[in-house]
Amino acid sequence: MGSASAAPVVELADVRKTYYVGGVVEAMAGVSLSLDAGSYTAVMGPSGSGKSTLLNLVGGLDTPDEGRVTVDGRDLSTASEDELAAVRGTDVGFVFQTFNLMPRLTAVENVALPLVFDGWGRADRTERARELLEDVGLGDRLSHLPTELSGGQRQRVAIARALATDPAIILADEPTGNVDTETGDRIMALLGELHADGHTILLVTHERRIAEHAERIVHVRDGTIERIEDLGDR
């Protein structure tokens, strides 16, 4: 990974997003934020404050109604569906609270899935997936199905998958939300290592203890940024 220079890799400029499902919900009500390359940012706020929406917009899973979202110089608000797919596939790696693993694929196959869509051959991607699983300490669980793994193991498979195409940005949405404290610490240690390796990390959580792993905390409420708390380089 490149060094932690101060150039922003992600920029949000006055981003708005409204959902009209069962009433009008302004999930993003004018948010501006930039993430420097190699930075580690936590987004904190109560449930329903728009944390996941923010993360999804950065990852190209969602598009803004107004404003601009720029990732690696690419404006996602005007990007085509294929360009968004490319962003999701190679620019960012997602880690979800509920893991979101394919239930009928083994650990190796799950980790290799982004590589399938990135055009890798079978042997290469299996090799890469095996290495990544070894890196997260699951070298002995390669052929297990998600149902045969514990919550913490599943989340580590998901982290390995997020790293498959070697994206610069890791987006983690409550990655410790479904695991016990001890396992959560292990997950956070892994994210810390990724940060140390130079990845830009955007972490969503509602727990202060978890957020404190980051360099700064962005506090959101009702779709707006309340304040940004700098925790300093750690």
Binding site: E81, A85, F96, L101, F117, R122
Partner: protein, 411 residues
């Protein structure tokens, strides 16, 4: 995404729902098998009938009276063609021989001490045996107490007939005549080429002295022998021309034209005409029945579409995951389309051989020889895959359009 990966993922998905996939494919199997069965059976019957026709003289023009608005298969037995007509036709350019055929009513035929009941024997002229189908002996002579039998008649007695045997014909007018069998034949030039499957036993006797049916010739004004059917043997190079000349003669100057009632039509046909006509009829029936089988295929297609739609709904979350890790819309589309196409292909792969087996069994049962319908078979496979693709198209499109956010929230 590489199509090979898409196929392998589609195969996986099909295999993970074994029972469901089998049941879905079953609909296509039944549809394809029905189409192949009917098409094969139709082709076999057609090949059999046309093969029979090809065997008979291609240079014969068959002249007979047929009820109007009819396909011409019914042989009208009214004696319309007089000796005058026979002579006139013989004079037409390109005609080599004219073979009139009449019916002599009999009540029984005796061979040795065996008597079999028979309704009729055929009265004709020696030219009818000129088609090279004589198996043993020679043609009869006009005016002689002789008979020729076909192989079916020869073997119809407990003791097979052979040349030189005596037959006693009980005529329906009360008299009886002894005739000597002088020849055994396998088909004659005089017969219409539409005898159905297999030959009937036939006994042929000379028109003179056995044939007695007379009518008054309107042209000549005297009583003459009159026949219900006449076969014109033409110069092979001029069969068509002869057919036309004969038809023109029948329409304009013939005794038959004046004798016939209004509801019958005089026709002159070559075996090629018969072949065409029969081919048309069989083709129509085949198409109709096969068309009904296609309905089964459509029902199968709806089954695939239904299952694919269920599958898209069930796998919404998986689609969301794939999109979150970089799958493009067309990748998702491809996955579901391949899955549907594979189901269709599997249906064809099982349905075609099954249809062939059932079609073959049907030809055994109907005692016709088996013929393939390769075009229909290729069509069935293509249709199977197409049915899969088409029925998968809408579900795949739905899958491709799944919004990843909604999909990931989907339980």
């Amino acid at each position: 995404m590489n199509p090979r990966e898409a196929v392998s993922m589609a195969v996986r998905s099909i295999r993970s729902h074994r029972l469901r996939s089998v049941l879905t494919v079953l609909g296509i199997v039944i549809g394809i098998a029905s189409v192949v069965t009917f098409a094969t059976f139709g082709a076999s019957v057609e090949a059999e009938v046309l093969g029979d026709l090809e065997g008979s003289g291609a240079n014969n023009v068959y002249v007979f009276a047929s009820p109007e608005d009819d396909d011409g298969f019914d042989r009208a037995v009214q004696p319309l063609f007089t000796a005058y007509d026979v002579n006139q036709i013989r004079d037409i350019d390109g005609v080599r021989a004219v073979v009139p055929q009449g019916i002599v009513q009999v009540s029984a035929v005796t061979h040795g001490n065996e008597t079999v009941a028979r309704q009729q024997v055929t009265a004709t002229v020696p030219e009818t045996f000129s088609n090279g189908s004589t198996v043993a002996g020679r043609p009869f002579e006009l005016g002689a107490a002789e008979a020729v039998v076909n192989e079916e008649a020869a073997t119809g007695f407990r003791e097979n007939l052979s040349v030189g045997d005596e037959l006693r014909l009980e005529l329906s007018d009360g008299g009886a005549r002894n005739v000597t069998v002088v020849g055994i034949v396998n088909g004659t030039a005089g017969e219409l080429p539409v005898g159905g499957f297999g030959q009937q036993p036939r006994i042929y006797v000379p028109a003179d002295p056995f044939y007695r049916t007379v009518v008054e010739s309107p042209t000549v004004g005297v009583n003459q022998l009159a026949y219900p059917q006449v076969t014109v043997v033409a110069d092979p190079a001029r069969t068509e021309a002869v057919e036309q000349s004969v038809a023109a003669y029948l329409a304009n100057e013939s005794d038959a034209g004046q004798l016939k009632s209004d509801d019958v039509e005089l026709v002159a046909r070559t075996s090629g005409d018969f072949a065409e006509q029969i081919g048309d009829v069989i083709g129509q029936i085949t198409r109709f029945v096969t068309g009904i089988a296609v309905i089964a295929l459509v029902v199968g297609a709806i089954g695939i579409a239904n299952i694919m739609l269920v599958s898209v709904t069930e796998r919404t979350r998986e689609i969301g995951i794939m999109k979150a890790v970089g799958a493009r819309n067309r990748d998702v589309m491809q996955l579901f389309l391949f899955e549907a196409a594979l189901l269709g292909l599997a249906g064809s792969a099982v349905g075609v051989p099954l249809g062939l087996v059932v079609g073959w069994a049907a030809t055994r049962y109907a005692e016709v020889s088996f013929a393939l319908a390769p075009v229909w078979m290729a069509l069935a496979v293509a249709v199977g895959v197409l049915v899969g693709v088409v029925s998968g198209l809408y579900p795949a499109w739905r899958a491709a359009r799944v919004d990843p956010i909604d999909a990931l929230r989907h339980e």
